[in-house]
């Protein structure tokens, strides 16, 4: 008896597409975290008076920063969609004797998301 | 030397139930479960339809007894049947308490379904994976007991008898190739059936009847081996079972013209499938298995069956049940038919043909599961108590594992408490001999030309042709001769693999060695039973002959041709009568 221990495959996430997509999903969280940090800095600058805030806005108004934000948006969307799509697995909702079908749970989270987005858009735009 | 109070060979339903029974009785008793596969791989896992036990108010013990006895063509021992029927509900409830996910009625009570040969719905079920749930519930429950010690993937090779008592076994640790004696004050054999004696079977590859050979060689007679059950609905090619529950739920069998041919074979008149009384119990499709399988052969001779790539078939039609019921009650049937027959039974009928399914006979035990050797017990499909007689009713077997598994556990525990420890030095010498035998004859076998699978296939072919659904003297004799020849040729088998780690060529050879022994006993029992009863149908002796053969066949090991004699069937309340279905 001399069992053979196979070394775990090197960089397993390159071996199959599902693993690769998973790693991408994990990586997007870095971008989300980065954006959150940035948002905090942004709000902080708002508290530092008009001048700091104007500098901040000017800094953001460059092609480079706009591209960066587009990239972050794409990742944020990927992150959101992939996680939202997994919610029915995590949340099994029973109403009385009936299991709420997966598409209703999905509908609810997407509905909620759109709802909140509308409220925020309304707050910003008006 | 490894030592335990009780040793159980087999981790299927029967073995695990016995182990738990001992665990419950006394946590001080050390129990070894020796199994050639991990317990949850045991073939109990494949049982689909359900387990019978009287639970509903409209049912009675009397009914269940009567169905079982007439189903077995008056061969079952009636005291054993009564005990079995009485204990059945307790055992099934016990399993419920351990967590078995029985299917339920809307009020939360356990649901029951109709089964072949039963006059009323009394088969408990867990969807159509009853055996799977039963086995996993037992296995997982067994993990709770610290005194149950498992020897997973150890292959028992010999029963050790010393001083007239059974004192343990020798077993081969497959992983290392080492043969060791394991001493015990009592031993229970729970090794399952021997379906693999035949080429076309619902039984998994592990069902090679090892325990039968072990007991036989140790000097325990094998009882009623000629009664082998053919199930009427196996998938052609693979032999995968389509459970009787498909017919219990209302499925019908039709020939090439869509005609319910069973009505031509004294199984009653069909009711329309839309009739609220369909399916009628103990009639037509819900007749007993032996009669249905025989009807297939007769219909085939009449030209009514449908040719296919793996021989002729008939159609099992469940389309009228509708997708919803099929998915709810028999989803596994749909899965198996779709996967292995390439047809979706919601839209097409399933091609089926009779397939070897169950070993009614087995190791001779008394009603307490004890064999003639003190300290040696047997339970489950490998044993013959006997409650199944000449034909087992579907769903009686899973219950039998529980009822008699438990009785065996209790008997073995009791025996272990009242008997002295093993004679170690004598066992050591037996251990040496067995180590030598396995080493010289298998692991280090030199020369040899016979191919193992070739021999096995020849044996299976002759079993099928000589001792199949219908038999006659000439055919059985041919098989007997063939088996004698194969046994001789076995001495000259070729084993290419001489390594010791997980050598499955050796285990397969050991299995074949035992199978040849059992096959020979079976064929000689069949040769000597000159009547037709239940699953043993002789075309040269067509009637049942109670005067001469209302007796159990007993095959005794001689080293050569087995010696056959007889033992009376125990009749208590139900005198032999005609077996009637559908009229």
């Amino acid at each position: 008896m001399k069992p053979y221990y196979r070394p775990p495959p090197h960089m397993f996430w390159l071996h199959r597409k599902p693993y690769f997509m998973f790693i991408i999903r994990e990586m997007t969280s870095l971008f989300i975290a980065g954006f959150c940090l940035f948002l905090l800095v942004f709000i902080y600058s708002l508290g530092q008076g008009r001048e700091t805030f104007d500098n901040m806005v000017a800094f953001l108004d460059s092609t480079f920063m706009i591209i960066v934000h587009w990239i972050v948006l794409v990742f944020a969307l990927y992150h959101t969609f992939t996680w939202f799509n997994l919610t029915p697995k995590v949340m099994v909702v029973w109403i009385g004797e009936k299991k709420v079908p997966e598409f209703m749970v999905l509908g609810a989270v997407y509905g909620g998301w759109i709802g909140v987005s509308i409220v925020i858009a309304w707050l910003i735009l008006y | 030397m490894l030592k335990h109070d009780i040793l159980i060979i087999g981790g299927g339903g029967a073995g695990l139930r016995a182990a738990i029974a001992i665990g419950e009785i006394d946590p001080e008793l050390s129990v070894a479960v020796v199994s050639k596969v991990y317990p949850m791989r045991s073939h109990t896992v494949a049982a689909e339809g359900g387990a019978a036990g009287v639970i509903k108010d409209n049912d009675s013990f009397e009914n269940h007894c009567m169905d079982t006895i007439s189903g077995g063509d008056w061969m079952p021992d009636q005291d054993a049947v009564e005990l079995f029927v009485k204990k059945a509900p307790e055992e099934l409830i016990q399993l419920e308490h351990w967590g078995c996910p029985w299917s339920r009625e809307s009020d939360g009570k356990v649901a029951v379904r109709p089964f072949g040969g039963m006059n009323i719905e009394r088969t408990w079920f867990a969807s159509d994976k009853t055996g799977f749930h039963l086995l996993h519930t037992l296995f997982q429950t067994s993990l709770k007991y610290d005194n149950i010690i498992r020897y997973d993937e150890w292959f028992a090779t010999k029963i050790l008898v010393e001083n007239g008592r059974c004192q343990g076994v020798t077993a081969l640790e497959i992983r290392s190739g080492k043969v060791q004696a394991i001493a015990a004050k009592s031993v229970i054999i729970c090794t399952g059936g021997a379906g693999r004696l035949y080429p076309f079977t619902t039984n998994g590859s592990i069902k090679t009847g090892d325990g039968l050979a072990l007991a036989f060689r140790a000097g325990v007679p094998l009882k009623d081996l000629e009664f082998m059950q053919f199930h009427p609905t196996g998938l052609p090619g693979t032999g995968i079972l389509i459970t009787e529950a498909a017919r219990g739920e209302g499925g019908i069998l039709v020939n090439k013209d869509g005609y319910r041919y069973l009505q031509d074979y004294d199984l009653g008149k069909p009711l329309d499938i839309n009739d609220p009384d369909h399916p009628v119990k103990k009639s037509m499709e819900l007749g007993p298995r032996d009669r249905l399988s025989q009807a297939f052969v007769l219909e085939h001779e009449k030209g009514g069956t449908i040719p296919g790539p793996y021989g002729h078939v008939v159609h099992l039609d469940i389309r009228h049940l509708g997708e919803k019921i099929i998915n709810k009650k028999i989803p596994f049937v749909r899965e198996l038919a779709t996967k292995y027959a390439g047809i979706d039974p919601v839209f097409e009928p399933i091609p089926v043909r009779p397939v070897l399914h169950y070993t009614m006979g087995g190791i001779d035990t008394d009603i307490d599961t004890a064999t003639v050797i003190p300290g040696l017990f047997a339970a489950g499909e490998c044993a013959c108590v006997s409650i199944n007689g000449a034909n087992r009713l579907g769903s009686n077997s899973l219950t039998e594992l529980l009822v008699f598994g438990r009785i065996a556990g209790e008997g073995a525990a009791n025996h272990a408490k009242n008997n002295p420890g093993p004679d170690i030095s004598a066992l050591e010498s037996q251990e040496k001999d067995e180590q030598n035998r396995i080493l010289k004859g298998f692991y280090q076998k030199e020369s040899g030309t016979e191919n193992i699978s070739g021999l096995r296939e020849e044996m299976q072919e002759y079993m099928d042709s000589g001792v199949g659904i219908f038999r006659n003297e000439q055919g059985i004799r041919k098989t007997c001769d063939k088996l004698a020849e194969l046994k001789e040729r076995f001495a000259n088998i070729k084993i290419e693999d001489n390594t010791s780690t997980f050598n499955t060529e050796v285990t397969v050879a050991l299995e074949l060695e035992g199978m040849l022994e059992v096959a020979q006993a079976l064929s000689h029992c069949a040769l000597d039973r000159k009547e037709s009863r239940g699953s043993h149908q002789r075309s040269d002796f067509t009637g049942r002959d109670d005067d001469n053969y209302l007796k159990h066949s007993m095959a005794h090991y001689t080293g050569d041709i087995p010696k056959i004699d007889y033992k009376d069937v125990i009749i208590t309340k139900w005198p032999p009568a005609e077996r009637v279905y559908g009229r």
Partner: protein, 250 residues
């Protein structure tokens, strides 16, 4: 007849081989052959030394899991025709030590299975004797756990799980799903005991929700869902234990 397919099989016999190697076999097959049929054919007719596990050949005993072209499968439920004319690479399940050829060492799983206490644990006052009959359980209550009870312990999910393959300390999908199976059973009161074990770091929190375990599961057990649901329950319990009076105990 007539079609042949090449199987490239992982071979390792510890007493002979220092290192594993692949050996190729050409097998003539029929369209209804599963991979296990081909492997049996090789053992019976071509090379008796090949070792592997199998029994039921109907996808229910859980013995015959192997890596087929890199993906864990039950070989008795995977058809050759779906690969033909490409060759089929057969390896032992990933993430486990290899005993020999296609046989893995599964001791690790057996220990973990036992550790999740996969048996009924009932409060003393709810225990009843056999003569009192069955515990009532409505079809809806049954529905809540039945899916997680369908696990056949084939271990495909472990091989599909990169977390387990990289670090064997992870309790893993099947064992956690079975813990959930009992946790969600209306007849059971053992959640606290089981959660103590699966709530550890190597338990549910090691899972990063790759989700492949559920995809390879031949019984649609969906262990990934079981793990995430366990995370939700454990978090709720944790929060309750801090915020609720008396630790939120009933």
């Amino acid at each position: 007849m007539g079609k042949t397919i090449e199987l490239e099989i992982f071979r390792y016999i510890p007493e002979i081989d220092e290192q594993p190697a692949y050996r190729s076999y050409e097998v003539e097959f029929e369209d209804d052959w599963v991979i296990l049929d081909a492997i049996n054919h090789i053992k019976d007719k071509m090379d008796g030394s090949l070792s592997y596990r199998w029994s039921c050949r109907m996808g229910v005993c859980g013995s015959c899991g192997m890596m087929i072209n890199g993906i864990p499968k039950l070989t008795c439920a995977t058809f050759l025709k779906d690969y033909y004319p490409k060759k089929v690479k057969v390896e032992p399940l990933l993430g486990f030590p290899v005993e020999r050829d296609l046989v893995i060492v599964m001791d690790d799983f057996m220990t973990k299975l036992e550790n999740v206490k996969p048996w009924m644990i009932r409060d003393k006052d709810k225990e009843k004797t056999i003569d009192k009959g069955e515990y009532l359980q409505s079809p809806v209550q049954l529905e809540k756990f039945i899916q997680f009870s369908m696990c056949i312990n084939c271990l495909l999910c472990y091989s599909a799980c990169p977390v387990y393959v990289v670090d064997n300390n992870f309790i893993g999908p099947a064992a956690i799903a079975l813990a959930q199976r009992y946790n969600l059973d209306s007849r059971d009161d053992g959640q606290d005991q089981r959660n103590e074990y699966i709530g550890k770091h190597e338990g549910i929190w090691d899972c990063t929700f790759v989700g492949e375990c559920s995809k390879v599961c031949p019984e649609d057990v969906d262990p990934a869902a079981a793990i995430q649901q366990a995370k939700v329950t454990n978090t709720q319990n944790f929060v309750k234990s801090i915020l609720w009076p008396f630790g939120g105990k009933k």
